[in-house]
């Protein structure tokens, strides 16, 4: 029998500020954290949260992970570990890893010679550095690793954590994703791909959408085996009820146009959670604001939900407020989805003003609106993540009972 898995802590560092609540509240208020074509975490001052040693030893992406994890663990009320450390895992994704470190150290090698490259180069760059930093700081000794699947990483990390607890390999897992790719090289690479919005505006599902806007930050969730969390008197913020992942096997960067592999991820995740499309009250879309993604996602939702149901369910994109956080996106958007279920307020897709005739779902334009239960009692939502490489992930969340 699979264990149920609940969420007891949320943490986020995003272009809307430091904090999970800031993310959802400010997004719902219509605030956009994108400035000059980038979603930078300008409010994030490392010294406020981390020691000099931590700052010096960690790339910016790991710093984000550590601060988001601290927030989530504080909310979970973990003063000391509530379980055997060997039964607490940590899975933190990143799309790229410590790219700022690579750039800096490559400059050092070119300008001052190979012997001057920092011994911290690899430990800072390595994509598992975020997981290692969080685990080490809090003494977590169970399964710990980084997940690498580009823009699905954060969702894959949460899926892996869910399975770990469901099948009894861990009592709790600190899971999420972190990214800090707003560097000269990061922009150059994505610009060369013509993936970034030349106008610097993130407006998912809008007719004028012209690419994604890169953002940075981290999202972390504390997941616990439900009966253990209840036994220790934890406040339950929500439940992770289902997870599924498929792959396109089609193209390195373009989504598979029929939407079938992506829709299959949605269908399988619903089945995994034991719910149907009729139970889903909200979809937190991948919604990147690229011409191709937003069509493919709309097609996938229609295939998975059925045309009629798909048109009824409100769909909004967090990326309209913070840009695309790549490997952190799935985790940050999971945080936003749990907050949406908890507060029963659906934040809008910002900047969605000119409808695209091809895209005919309810993308929650304009203002935030109340989240209404789809079928009277249960309150469930999904969060989609799709990635370069063709990785599709859907997570199903349930709101905590009131």
């Amino acid at each position: 029998m699979k264990h149920r898995v609940v969420i007891t802590g949320l943490g986020a560092v995003t272009p809307l500020g430091v904090g999970a609540r800031a993310l959802h509240e400010r997004w719902a208020q219509g605030v956009c954290g994108i400035v000059d074509g980038a979603g930078a975490c300008t409010d994030f001052e490392p010294k406020e949260f981390l020691s000099l040693k931590e700052i010096r030893r960690l790339d910016r992406f790991s710093q984000f992970a550590l601060v988001a994890a601290d927030e989530a663990l504080t909310q979970a009320g973990w003063e000391g570990l509530p379980y055997d450390p060997l039964r607490i895992g940590c899975v933190i994704a990143t799309g790229i890893g410590g790219i700022e470190t690579v750039e800096t150290q490559h400059d050092v090698m070119r300008d001052r010679g190979a012997k001057m490259v920092s011994p911290l180069g690899i430990p800072q760059y390595m994509p598992n550095a975020g997981a290692a930093a969080v685990g080490m700081k809090h003494g977590l000794q169970g399964q710990m690793y980084g997940v690498v699947s580009a823009c699905s990483g954060g969702a894959h990390a949460i899926g892996a954590a869910l399975r770990m607890i469901q099948y009894g390999d861990a009592d709790a897992v600190v899971a999420g994703g972190a990214e800090a790719t707003l560097t000269a090289f990061g922009f150059a690479c994505f610009n060369s791909m013509q993936a970034l919005s030349p106008t610097g505006v993130s407006r998912p599902f809008d007719l004028r959408r012209d690419g994604f806007v890169m953002g940075e930050g981290a999202g972390v969730l504390v997941l616990e085996q439900a009966t253990l969390a209840q036994a220790r008197g934890a406040t339950i913020l929500g439940e992770i009820a289902g997870y599924a992942s498929t792959s396109d096997a089609y193209h390195l960067t373009a989504p598979e146009p029929s939407g079938r592999p992506a829709s299959k991820a949605i269908e399988l995740a619903l089945a995994d959670a034991g719910v149907t499309a009729a139970d889903i009250a909200y979809v937190n879309a991948h919604g990147t604001s690229t011409p191709l993604n937003d069509v493919a996602e709309t097609v996938a939702l229609k295939l998975a939900f059925g045309e009629q149901r798909a048109k009824q369910v409100p769909v909004s994109s967090t990326k309209s407020a913070i840009g695309h956080l790549l490997g952190a996106a799935g985790a940050v958007e999971s945080v936003a989805t749990v907050e949406t279920l908890r507060t029963r307020i659906i934040p809008p897709t910002l900047g969605h003003e000119v409808p695209d005739p091809e895209l005919d779902l309810d993308y929650v334009p304009g203002e935030a609106r109340p989240l209404l239960s789809a079928n009277g009692d249960s309150l469930a939502a999904i969060s989609n993540s799709f990635a370069f490489g063709g990785h599709n992930v859907t997570l199903v969340f349930r709101g905590a009972p009131r």
């Binding site: 000099l52 040693k53 001057m116 011994p119 911290l120 430990p123």
Partner: protein
């Protein structure tokens, strides 16, 4: 190149170690690297600084023997002269 004084090395080593994390007031000649939470990765960085500034090459075996800040200062001064 003029001779390097112990004082010069001491102030450079303290400055470098302080940039690694510990509070400058804790960095005395008698303080151990363990107390200062300075590990092998930090010592490699210290060796790079020393080599860059004084041309003194410190190898892994040299660093392993170092226990206190004073040990490091003395070794650098000895090698530099």
């Amino acid at each position: 190149m003029s001779a390097i004084t112990t004082q010069q090395v001491e102030s450079r080593v303290v400055e470098a170690l302080a940039s690694f994390g510990p509070d400058e007031s804790q960095i005395t000649r008698g303080a151990t690297f363990e107390e200062l939470d300075i590990d092998s990765l930090d010592l490699v960085e210290l060796a790079q600084i020393v080599e860059d500034e004084y041309g003194v090459v410190l190898k892994g075996e040299d660093m392993k023997e170092l226990r206190t800040v004073g040990d490091a200062i003395d070794l650098i001064v000895e090698r530099a002269s």
